[in-house]
């Protein structure tokens, strides 16, 4: 559906050239929700603007469906953009238009007759749950409602691809979840392909099927979301995963445990899906006659599977530890020793 081939984007400034996107290749399949995560300045905003030709690559090709975006004529590109729509971090609604008029805007651009526009707007207002607010101006809406208008507007020409530029970054956690649920719903109902960029790992975890991690204009790691969470390879990915799971309080309490039980080791068990429900830990404890102190644990849901972590403190020697690791890995449970 979407194919990015060796794309580089260089911004020329007076003093230096900035490689905002550096030799990126990736592909997104039909119906997928694909996330790109990175810290600010990683180049993800530029990357997503290459998808609809708001930025043109310095080299490489951007292919969506049957069209090479990077070599289309301007009129053809404008036509194509009606099918590759975009939503924004700051919503970018026209304040001078009501909710209904904002949603109708792309239809006006596409030259749809008034009658059909009104019908379509009504449908979309219902779809995004804004019935009754059609005649409000954006200034009368909350952030979440504004983004719903943004989504309805993006859907009005029945696009194949929806690009989300930090679509939830300006929203509070609860509203973020509502908007994310809405994105999944429209993906399912309209068979959309969604590409989103974000700096929030929980957005990736909640709705993405696959994700890519960006740093300094390059994609440093890419894969199914569950794999990224369970087994992050690159340091940036690890940091994002850690931010999503750990908070500083946990780290602090580890320090306390170390002080109280200097001989204990702090271990992190990682498990996925069905294992998270089996009583593996208690079996191990019985078998090796261990004293185990549970420090913290959690189970998180990705969009299709759950995975979890358990932090424990165990007074154990290296030999037993190795046996333990071997046994647990038979059950697909990973073991990591937390650094002192």
């Amino acid at each position: 559906m979407i194919d990015i081939r060796n794309v580089t984007k260089i911004f020329k400034t007076k003093s230096t050239d900035i490689r905002a996107v550096d030799d990126v290749s990736m592909n997104v399949t039909q119906g997928e929700i694909f996330g790109v995560i990175g810290y600010s300045g990683a180049g993800k905003s530029t990357l997503i603007r290459l998808f609809n030709g708001l930025e043109m690559p310095s080299s490489g090709d951007v292919v969506i469906g049957a069209d090479v975006i990077s070599s289309m004529s301007k009129p053809a590109l404008r036509k194509k953009r009606q099918k590759v729509s975009m939503i924004f971090q700051h919503f970018n609604l026209l304040w001078s238009r009501t909710v209904a008029e904002n949603i109708s805007f792309p239809l006006e651009i596409a030259g749809v007759p008034k009658k059909e526009r009104q019908k379509k707007v009504k449908e979309l207002v219902d779809l995004v749950g804004l019935a009754g607010r059609e005649d409000n101006y954006p200034s009368q809406l909350s952030g979440g409602q504004k983004q719903r208008v943004g989504i309805a507007r993006a859907l009005s020409n029945e696009p194949n691809v929806l690009l989300c530029d930090e679509a939830t970054s300006a929203l509070d956690p609860e509203t973020t979840d509502e908007v994310l649920d809405l994105l999944v719903k429209i993906r399912d109902e309209m068979n959309l392909t969604i590409v989103l960029i974000t700096h929030e790992m929980h957005v990736i975890r909640k709705i993405c099927d696959r994700a890519a991690v960006m740093e300094n204009g390059r994609i440093v790691e890419t894969g199914p979301v569950l794999k990224l969470f369970q087994n992050p390879e690159h340091s940036v990915t690890k940091r994002f995963v850690k931010d999503d799971i750990n908070d500083e309080e946990t780290a602090l309490s580890f320090d306390e445990v170390r002080e109280l039980f200097p001989t204990s080791k702090i271990l992190k068990f990682g498990f996925v899906g069905s294992q998270s429900k089996a009583p593996i830990v208690s079996q191990i404890v019985k078998k090796y006659d261990l004293d185990l102190n549970i420090l913290s644990g959690n189970i998180k849901r990705t969009n299709n599977e759950s995975y979890g972590h358990l932090f424990v403190a165990i007074d154990v020697n290296d030999e037993t530890l190795q046996k333990l690791e071997a046994e647990l890995s038979d059950h697909d449970v990973t073991v990591e020793v937390e650094d002192q």
Partner: protein, 230 residues
């Protein structure tokens, strides 16, 4: 001291005021201001949009366009209005067939104020959220659509408050034009009030001009507020 009191007595006596002449002068001032404001609005917006688009466009040809437009705008803005009228006499003769009366003043009024308003338009357009323009581009809007459906409506409050300021400036300019024969309240104040030493006429002309200015300001504020849904 006695002379001063005499002056004041004349001023507030209104004995020299011919009200039909005041009416006619008021009509001429309003006429000149209205026509000049209407054309200034159109030309100023066109010039302002050219300045705005040319300054942000990545197309190579836009640089000289911006340069030339900006130069002309600055040039005509820099010429003092009374000199501009004199400079434009040949042009006015050809355009309007006369250099006297309200019609004789209109070309100079427009050419003097359109560049000023163009700058106000450019400032107004620059204040539009870039993201909204980008959003329109992402929907496949062409430049015309962006001008009509994004730039103009989204900057409307600024365009209206800008034309209000410009219209008030134009009232002042018509008075200057009046001195060299354009008619209107400025002409009345000068020709009758000053040269015949009838200060009551000058006072009446001033009051009428103030009323016109207040009406323009109040109307401008009202419309600017009405269209502003932010």
């Amino acid at each position: 001291m006695n002379e001063l009191i005499k002056e004041f007595t004349t001023m507030f006596s209104f004995e020299n005021v011919r009200w039909d002449a005041v009416w006619e002068a008021t009509y001429e001032t309003v006429y000149m201001t209205a026509i000049a404001t209407a054309f200034t609005f159109i030309f100023g917006i066109v010039l302002g949009i050219i300045l705005f688009l040319a300054s942000k466009s990545e197309i190579k040809a836009s640089k000289p366009i911006y340069g030339i437009t900006a130069f002309l705008v600055n040039l005509f803005r820099a010429i003092p209005f009374i000199i501009l009228i004199i400079l434009l006499i040949p042009f006015t003769k050809v355009m309007m067939g006369t250099i006297m009366g309200p019609n004789g003043a209109i070309p100079a009024l427009i050419i003097g104020s359109a560049p000023f308003y163009a700058r106000l338009v450019e400032i107004g357009l620059k204040e539009i959220d870039k993201g909204v323009i980008e959003a329109a581009e992402s929907m496949g809007a062409d430049t015309w659509t962006i001008i009509w459906k994004v730039l103009l409506p989204e900057s409307m409050p600024a365009l209206i408050s800008g034309i209000t300021v410009t219209a008030i400036m134009l009232v002042g300019s018509t008075a200057i034009a009046g001195v060299i024969g354009a008619g209107g309240l400025g002409n009345l104040a000068y020709m009758v009030g000053f040269t015949r030493n009838q200060s009551d006429v000058t006072l009446v002309a001033t009051i009428v001009i103030l009323v016109i200015v207040f009406i323009i300001q109040i109307a401008g504020d009202f419309f600017s507020k009405t269209v502003d849904k932010r």
